[in-house]
Amino acid sequence: MVSLDWYVVLSLIIFFIGMFGFLSRRNIIMMLISIELMLNAVNISFVAYSHYIGDMAGHIMVFLIIAVAASEAAIGLALVILMVRNKETIFVDGLKELKW
Amino acid sequence: MELLWEISIIVIKIVVVVSVVMFHVAYATYFERKVIGRMQMRMGPKEVGPLGILQPVADGIKSFFKEDIIPLNSDKPVFYLAPVISIMAAMSALAVIPFFDGFIISNINLGILFILAMSSLGAYGIVLAGWASNSKYAFLGGLRSAAQVISYEVSLGLSLVGVMLLAGSFNLNDIVEAQSSSVFGFYAIPQILGFFVFIVSAVAETNRPPFDLPEAESELVAGYFAEYSGFRFALFMAAEYIGMIIMSSLAVLCFLGGWTVPYYVLYLFPFLGAVPGVVWFILKLYACIFFYYWIRATLPRFRYDQLMALGWKLLIPLSLLNILITGIAKLII
């Protein structure tokens, strides 16, 4: 039997990999992908906790998180399109001005 | 020991299903060429073997021995991977289809969801092929396919919700059982709206004419597989035909009663009860596949904006209406 701690550690590692990706990549689509990675890591820990504690609430949370992730991806990609249309780059370095 | 026995049974089932389906894929091409030929007052394949019956074998041998050309500036790993993703997504959906009573590779509770998931993965093969070929035609084909699959998956899934509501299960076996004990014997009559939406979206989902915009011959050469040749091209073709078989069997299982015959037909013609279930299944399957060819021979290709408008403005509202009606009816009865 695998203990719960292993699942939590796995989820944490993936979460921090995603976080590092979000903080250090400059490509905005890669940053969005890193966010998806982080959300997935959280999902893993939710499902693992739910399984070990014996409470279905975690599964519901995963369900809602997936819905939020879908809307986040839609809005994020719409913003990417807007950014490419205005700045013609997908690198966050391009967004230097505070106002335009 | 018992585990070994179970595993060997599953392996035997997989071998049987894959070989039978590949045989049917090969002869689905022959059937298509014959049917469309006759509809256009031609003859179709006739030279290889008696009545051209060996044509699929000749095609297979030809595509197997053709040169495998890889474009110079293509993204090679993705280029190699794309047809494999395509065929894998198509083939793995076969695992949950019950061909007759009790014959199913894996009887999981999420049969319909699994098939929907796999059919949506098929888009990856197409999109990645279009992107990796580094060619304008292939690229446009991939782009169109991505948009088309995203749009039509919604209505495909929603059209099946009515069936799920009536049967109360995702399991395809249970759905067939529920149908045979329902009033009409199959769900195509109470779910006529859902059936219509399902047919249209299934044709669009498998990129078949009149929704074959990703591979429109007259505008995009061959669309996403313009740069593929030889065996990889054959893999794409096989994936398309397996997708057709999957969608047809989903229609048969969810709307046409699977391997069962409605009880009133059996009451009228009792001798039909002696016909084994797999024969009914294959007959219904081929009727569906024939329908694919029939509309291919009849209808011209849709324009791209018409396709999107049909998906979002007609099919999705219709399927939502179907869910509403089914839910209310279920509540009342």
Partner: protein, 169 residues
């Protein structure tokens, strides 16, 4: 023993896939690896008796969200990322921040263990099927969050259209 081997395979593969995903120069490759990662996550859900979530994971994440990413990348058709460096110059600061928050979260997660244990047994879920169990809970106890989630999706649809639509002249 078999459980541990399966978990070990999943853990090692998922971590290496996650590392590969965030270090690829080409976004397309990174998305392909992300797809494989999603499959592994779905496998892990199956391992944890959550079939419905595994199916949703593949349908929504792999089938819709990642295809949307692919679609946008192809729509923009940008090839400039291949010439630029992978990470921002400030990546060590990010790494330090990650390490600090890792320490903080690990202390808080492993320091306070949960007290209340739920009463749902795996055998109960297996008896009715995971879909039915989730559905009953979702539409009875968590109906309000479910409705809020649908509202969020509606807002996202409207917002995405408003943002990405070209102005009509």
């Amino acid at each position: 023993m078999l459980n541990q081997i399966i978990f070990g395979y999943f853990a090692v593969t998922m971590i290496s896939l996650a590392l590969i995903v965030i270090t690829r120069k080409n976004i397309m490759h990174s998305i392909v690896y992300m797809l494989i990662l999603f499959f592994h996550i779905a496998g892990l859900y199956l391992f944890l008796n959550a079939e419905f979530l595994a199916a949703i994971q593949i349908i929504v994440y792999a089938g819709a969200i990642m295809v949307l990413f692919l679609f946008v990348i192809m729509l923009l058709n940008l090839r400039e990322e291949l010439r630029k460096s992978r990470f921002a110059i400030t990546w060590p600061i990010g790494a330090i921040f990650v390490v600090l928050s890792a320490v903080m979260i690990i202390i808080s997660v492993f320091g306070n263990r949960f007290a209340n244990v739920g009463n749902v047994k795996i055998s109960d879920i297996e008896k009715v099927g995971h879909t039915v169990a989730v559905g009953k809970l979702l539409f009875v106890e968590y109906l309000f969050p479910f409705e809020v989630a649908s509202l969020i999706l509606l807002v996202a649809i409207v917002g995405a259209i408003v943002l990405a639509k070209k102005e009509i002249k």
